[in-house]
Amino acid sequence: MKQAQHPLLFAAVAVIVSIAGCAAPAPAIDYDAATQQMMKASFRDQGIAKVDRLQQDEADAACSKALGAPLPDATRVAIEAANMKTVRMPSDGQFIGDWKVGEQLAQNGRGMTWTDASTATSSNGGNCYNCHQITKAEISYGTIGPSLYQYGKLRGVTDPAAPAAKPIVEYTWGKLWNAKATNACSDMPRFGHNKLLDETQLKNLMALLLDPKSPVNQ
């Protein structure tokens, strides 16, 4: 009896092993970890673009992992809240600069690549027309983001300094400072948060969008 049991037992074990073998011929690959390894091995420093740029913060990591799918609500809310905390309103309380300088910034798509000389905000553009329609005169505009033509006018802003305009003005500033504060996986660069543009530059973009005299609002 004792001896007869053994072959059966062995057979059963063999069957289990072979079933497991069919389901997973190789150990499961942790693709996310393998991706991290591949990224690390594939890139090198060049000029101002160093490999530390491959490090992701929580928002970039979560949105990457989702592979284009929406985030679970809880994750999304947490990311937006964390990014909201980073938004710094202008130190002097003034939101509106010069729309003419803002238009030049909006046209300028340069900055932060390995062919750019400096990471200083002064050498960066806003890249705005790459993704947005802004003034009517510029026909070469992108459509990744929504049209911003008549941005202030459509929102009823006649005087950006008036108390009535405050919610729109602050919301717009927040968008420019850190777009992920209101949209966790936004494609828009976090201009203030990532030190791409300084306060003065952001004010000029604010003027382009909200100044009633800006061509955007004609």
């Binding site: 790459n130 459509t143 033509y149 660069p189």
Partner: protein
């Protein structure tokens, strides 16, 4: 009175959109006209001719041609090879794209150091030869449909890694490939952006490279295309033939299954 004012305002808003659309349409038509005028007489032909001559010329320390190079369909087979790359090669144990495979052939057949060529800046020295060669080799598959093999586990692994690399957001701007190429019907400025997460159509996206770049007057292979994508994504520098570039090519190439290649095409 109030009603009339409102009606006027509504009419003004309504009128603004069609006007904007009309303008958009005419610029798109203008660009289409411009592209059509350039298509007849693509300077990529100059590179094809140079590449064909290079393929058949004895060069390098071993004084050999590339005619015995195996691009995946057997030694010397050029036609049809391009639309099945990248693929797994047993002799190197790697999934390779056209450019990295040419480095291998250059080294094994001709004795030209793959590492040196990979480290050479685009458009110079051996890299200029690689560009001419990819023009020639891709042209030999003109009109054929992409059909990348996925039978080897390494090929499937590269697809999975390529997908994750495509969605990998990082850098100062938080961009990924998917920021621009994850959705259909979008543009940067006036450039249409193909959705590379699926087959964007014959001769679009992956099926349009290598291409003659009008802006620089150079022939760009997929390696250079991806390199400049990463530059504009504000990423650090991807190595020539590095795994991330090959994984992305596998992802885009498998997605483009069935798309007809028009390479080498002409691009802005």
């Amino acid at each position: 009175m109030t009603r009339i004012l409102w009606a006027g305002a509504a009419a003004a808003i309504a009128a603004s959109s069609p006007a904007v659309w009309a303008q958009q349409k005419s610029s798109a038509e203008g660009i289409a006209e411009y592209r059509a005028m350039l298509a007849d007489g693509n300077p990529a032909e100059l590179f094809e001719a140079k590449g064909e001559a290079l393929w058949k010329t004895r060069r390098g320390p071993k004084n050999a041609t590339l005619e015995a190079c195996d691009l995946g369909k057997g030694p010397g087979v050029v036609k049809g090879a391009f639309v099945e790359l990248p693929r797994y090669f047993a002799d190197t144990g790697r999934v390779q794209d056209l450019e990295s495979r040419l480095l291998t052939c250059g080294e094994t057949l001709q004795g030209i150091s793959a590492a040196e060529t990979a480290a050479t800046p685009f458009g110079r020295g051996e890299q200029a030869n690689i560009e001419a060669l990819v023009a020639y080799i891709s042209a030999a598959s003109g009109g054929m449909k992409f059909n990348l093999p996925q039978g080897n586990p390494e090929e499937r692994k590269m697809f999975e890694l390529g997908k994750r690399a495509f969605f990998y957001r990082a850098g100062s701007h938080g961009f990924a490939c998917a920021s621009c190429h994850g959705e259909a019907g979008k543009r940067i400025r006036l450039q249409d952006l193909p959705d590379l997460t699926k087959n964007p159509g014959n001769g679009i996206g992956f099926a349009a490279w290598p291409a003659y770049r009008v802006s620089s007057g150079e022939l760009w292979g997929m390696q250079r295309r991806l390199n400049d994508c990463y530059r504009q994504q504000r990423f650090p520098y991807p190595g020539f033939g590095s795994d991330v570039t090959i994984a992305l090519a596998v992802y885009m190439g498998v997605n483009a299954k069935g798309a007809e290649s028009i390479a080498p095409s002409i691009k802005r």
